[in-house]
């Protein structure tokens, strides 16, 4: 059994709300007096919890035990306490109560380019950032050439980093980070900054670190696909409390289930609030999955999109398009309706995407309204976001499934001839594909 490398017990973090200004000196002094001269009446967590108006629990009684070589994903909404938890683990802030015990060297990547100084050269910054992230002099010296070639900016290594393009900056910063060799690596959402290729490189490097080098990784991301791919375990935080904790796939699916029901429908109550212009007002957009007992949309789920809009033009030839994009911004399809001679009034559109069509991933819809097929009236962008979870049966393939679509077209293999006679294979290889064994 592998050993525990981190054990967090009862971690809580209380933040004070409101401005820290007038009166804070007095409050501080009161607390200080209470704390130091009135030991029996110590301000315990329970007491300070009473004035919940002034404070908020960013984390409450979080427990987590991590074994060597595990990779953990932390998921949750914005403000769920994910970053707070990482900052406590990284020793940047102190917990209000509780303790974390750990083993081994910890490095945290909470931003890209920690400690970079804009006016100094790439060379100087490699050292500054490397030391800040916890590298030793000998370590940087021995990896220096490797870092530069990984970043691919050999030519600009003596140029101040402020003259770098943002891409070069990120590449250099990540090159430093990628050569860290801690026992425990803590990574916060840094993937959000790079382009798709950079994200892939990051994920690849992290996966490599956890798989082949036995490094422990703790990883916060909104990219659930990345969590699914990278992490074996996950913890789901919701308003500072652990909602679920365990196998990554299960936790992510539970989380998705809770996430989606909220964002499937966009109802705009009054015509004034509704998005649109003088031609079109969109009253509602709704995504209705035909769930068959699952918690979340997965690749098998047929999806129906319904939208209502108000058309303010008489006698125009109106059509609507439903466009589906991946969150990376690639268009998957653009389905137009038939053009229709219309008058003022409320209209409804509907489209069903069959199950076993989309691959797993995050998607959003645009709805585009046009006159005479091509003249734009209104484009409602990013009106519904949704995630499609993975579902696999009868396969030993565990990596990310390639492609944007995942249709269930049958692909069959059948044996044409039996036997392994030598001359037959030689004859066969000249013209047709044959089995190798």
């Amino acid at each position: 059994m592998s050993e525990f490398v981190i054990r967090a017990e009862n971690i809580s973090k209380l933040y004070r709300l409101g401005t820290i200004g007038s009166g804070s000196l007095r409050r501080d002094m009161q607390e200080w007096v209470l704390k130091n001269f009135n030991k029996e009446q110590e301000i315990s967590i329970e007491n300070s919890n009473n004035n919940s108006k002034d404070s908020i629990w960013a984390l409450k009684n979080v427990d987590l035990a991590i074994k060597e070589g595990e990779s953990w994903g932390i998921i949750g909404h914005n403000g769920a306490g994910k970053s707070t938890f990482l900052k406590i683990l990284s020793r940047i802030i102190k917990p209000t109560s509780g303790s974390i015990k750990g083993k081994g060297k910890v490095s945290s990547l909470l931003e890209v380019g920690t400690g970079f100084h804009q006016d100094l050269s790439g060379r100087e910054n490699i050292f500054i950032s490397g030391y800040m992230l916890g590298m030793k002099k000998a370590e940087i010296n021995s990896k220096f050439d490797e870092i530069i070639s990984f970043s691919g900016i050999e030519k600009f290594i003596d140029t101040p980093v402020k003259r770098y393009s943002s891409g070069m900056y990120v590449r250099l910063a990540f090159a430093v980070a990628a050569h860290l060799e801690p026992d425990i690596l803590i990574v916060d959402e840094i993937l959000a900054v790079g382009d798709a290729e950079f994200q892939k490189k990051c994920l690849g490097k992290m996966k490599d670190a956890s798989n082949t080098k036995g490094r422990t990784i703790i990883f916060v991301s909104h990219n659930l696909q990345a969590i699914n791919n990278l992490c074996s375990k996950a913890i789901w935080l919701d308003k500072g409390v652990v909602r679920a904790n365990g196998d990554a796939k299960t936790v992510v699916n539970n989380y998705l289930g809770s996430l989606q029901q909220k964002s499937w429908k966009n109802n705009f109550l009054s015509v004034n609030e509704a998005p649109g212009n003088e031609h079109i007002k969109v009253l509602s957009v709704e995504l209705i999955p035909q769930l068959d007992g699952q918690d979340a949309i997965d690749i098998r789920t047929p999806l129906t999109v319904k939208f209502r809009f108000y058309n303010n033009n008489d006698n125009i030839n109106l059509s609507a398009d439903l466009l589906l994009f991946t969150t990376a911004g690639d268009c998957i399809f653009d389905i137009p309706s038939l053009s229709k001679q219309t008058s003022k009034g409320i209209y409804e559109g509907e489209c069903t995407i069959p199950g076993n069509f989309l691959n797993d991933g995050s998607y959003y819809f645009n709805i585009f309204f046009a006159k005479d097929t091509s003249v734009e009236l209104f484009n409602l962008e990013e009106c519904i976001y949704f995630e499609v979870a993975d579902f696999r049966e009868n396969t030993n393939w565990y990596d990310k499934w390639w492609g944007y679509v995942r249709p269930n077209f049958p692909l069959t293999i059948q044996q044409l001839e039996a036997g392994l006679e030598k001359e037959r294979i030689e004859i066969g290889s000249a013209g047709t594909i044959s089995t190798k064994e």
């Binding site: 940047i92 509780g98 006016d119 916890g134």
Partner: protein
Amino acid sequence: MLQRDQNWDWEITSETSWLGGSLKEIFHYKDLLFRLVRKDFLASFQQTLLGPLWVILQPLLTVLTYIFVFRNLMNLSTEGFPSFLYYLIGITLWNLFSELFLNISYTFMQNMPVYSKVYFPRIIAPLASVLLYLLRFGIQLVFLLVVYFYFVATTDLQFDFFKILLIFPAILLTTGLGFGLGLIFSIFSTKYKDLLGLLQLITRLLMFVCPIFYSLSMVPEKVKWMVNINPLASVFELFRYSFLGKGQIEAFPIIYSFVITVLLVMGGMMLFNKMGDKLMDVA
């Protein structure tokens, strides 16, 4: 399942310690410490025409202003010494104190971007400031010595090897006072930003109660107490004495300065260790 008796390398709790991290930990981060000094030293010359020359130009220009104001306009005595040397001695030491004090007071404000993203012993940043300003002071001191030996050679100024060694305790006390006072201010001014408005004022007031362009013997008895309670006063007098061989050097004020320095450095570091982590939530 849980192995209660496992050996852990580190522990994070809600407690902060007055004593802070161990010396071993600071030593572990020594590469970072020196790199930060180098970073700030290099960064201050980026895109300047004169570069490191500014380290010397700055006291030089101040001296010229002083000569104009205090000698030409106000006719203050420099006790028969060349006014250029007289003022340069005071200004060189004052620069060390004021730059150290102001810079360390801004520790949290300047370092928040990295403090909030990565852990290293927080004291590393103000320690790097100390080394940086000692380095700058070192350069200025060389310039001062060059000027000093020029006057030794050209006037009847006497050079005394044993007296000149007295600059070291003076430098040590000045550094300690700037460091300790700066740490205390860095803590309080992060929480109560009002103090930042006072910082410049305090520095200027301190300057006037330091014997920089006058000597202690010139201070009227009525206001002497103001200079006497200033722990910097006797240090500045000592520093000038070591060059010029003239000044009121008494044991008691120097012991007083020494005690205050020790108290400020210890108190400042303890407060910094104790409060530093908590400030991460407010700053």
